[in-house]
Amino acid sequence: MSYGELLHSCYQVLLTGLALTMKMTAFSLIFAIILGMISCFFSISRFRVLRAISRIYVDVIRGTPLLIQAFFLYFGLTRALNFRMDANTASIIALSLNAGAYLSEIFRGGINAVDKGQMEAARSLGMPYGSAMGKVILPQAIRIVIPSVVNQFIITLKDTSILSAIGMMELTQQGKLIVARNMRSFEIYGTIAIMYLIVITILSRILKIVEKRLNNE
């Protein structure tokens, strides 16, 4: 079978896998942004308990491999607590928790990078902490963190491939199944790599444009 024929025979399956990869990434990132913001606000809170919760969350996630987190969730937790969870749900939870911890640190770094005088100026005008944060600090912090957030988006997209290990039928897993049938690992994995590359390149370009827009508003 030529490469053309091979591709023709499996492109639909690969595209289905790619679609799931994108969908999983999108859902995970939405949850991760929410989680990351909550954890970030905990980490800069004046309440010690909230700071501790954020610290532990970030340390545990950063200190363990994503694969182990997914295994623990999908096999370990379901067994221990005796309930069922499908691979896609487990994948979204694992990816969200994972990216959320990294985003939490990115957001915190962004807020800390805004000059302290900004908060003082806003507060000295009588603005309460919340308004000052929302209208003065965060708009500046967002511009600062965009490149790192984009980077995290790309990492999360690629990390979906790790979840093939718990059987999520995303791009990498579809490829593994095809290779298992026809042994054409060189062509299939090469094709998959190019697919990731194309998607990520397009995504980076789009986000670059968004970043530029935000910066010269």
């Binding site: 000059d115 005088g117 900004q118 100026a121 000295s124 209208k135 511009r143």
Partner: protein, 242 residues
């Protein structure tokens, strides 16, 4: 009644004892200049007057409100106390007009239309009407500081605090900021100014306070303090800066 009343104010940063028992009264429309070597506690004293620093002990009463009482609404009090910073601290993501309008609109002091009208009046008074839609990064230091003064004035404060307002400026821009401050003083604003501009202190202030080592060493009308200082530490300092 005095606009500002400070009694036995102490401030410590950990082991560092920065303010060691400050007593200060400022009357309505009085312009008071704080001078002294760096590290003497001038800025810390100023920042205790709007609680950007929390006093360790002592009493601070501004406009009849005791700031050192935990139950007050500090945001309400701060609306009445404008502050101008050494580094201007304009909001870089907002235009000049937006910088000035942000707090009054956020606090419900003015509607957007009222705030814009007020902001344009203030911009005219600091001579920057044509810069309304510029971002701070496109302004010179002197222009930024004048916008910062307009921003503070838009809350219609009774008292203005200036924390070394000209120290970060190129020499040729100091004058334009001092002129705005002189005008403000002549209009009867109560002002407390931390400054290294001895010319301004001499010309505009009603009273000069010399601080060193966390205490007020000497105070009086500028002619007395500058021409006939009583304390050795004051003489020493003035010899260095004049």
């Amino acid at each position: 009644m005095n606009k500002v009343h400070v009694e036995n104010l102490h401030k410590k940063f950990g082991e560092l004892h920065v303010l060691k028992g400050i007593d200060l009264d400022v009357e309505e429309s009085e312009v008071v200049c704080l001078i002294g070597p760096s590290g003497s506690g001038k800025s810390t004293l100023l920042r205790c007057l709007n609680l950007l620093e929390t006093p360790t002990s002592g009493t601070v009463i501004v406009d009849g409100t005791e700031l050192t009482n935990a139950k007050i609404d500090i945001n309400k009090v701060r609306e009445n106390i404008g502050m101008v910073f050494q580094q201007f601290n304009l909001f870089p993501h907002l235009t000049v007009l937006e910088n000035i309008m942000l707090a009054p609109v956020d606090r419900g002091k003015f509607t957007k239309e009222e705030a814009e009208k007020k902001a344009m009046e203030l911009l005219a008074s600091v001579g920057l009407s044509e810069k309304r839609d510029e971002y701070p990064k496109n302004l010179s230091g002197g222009q930024q500081q004048r916008v910062a003064i307009a921003r503070a004035l838009c809350m219609e404060p009774d008292i203005m605090l200036f924390d070394e307002p000209t120290s970060a400026l190129d020499p040729e821009m100091v004058g334009e900021v001092l002129n705005v401050m002189k005008k403000l003083a002549s209009e009867g604003m109560t002002m407390i100014v931390v400054t290294h501009e001895m010319g301004f202190a001499r010309e505009v202030c009603d009273r000069v306070l010399f601080m060193d080592g966390g205490v007020i060493v000497e105070q009086g009308p500028p002619q007395e303090v500058f021409l006939n200082p009583q304390e050795d530490r004051t003489k020493d300092f003035l010899n260095k800066v004049l």
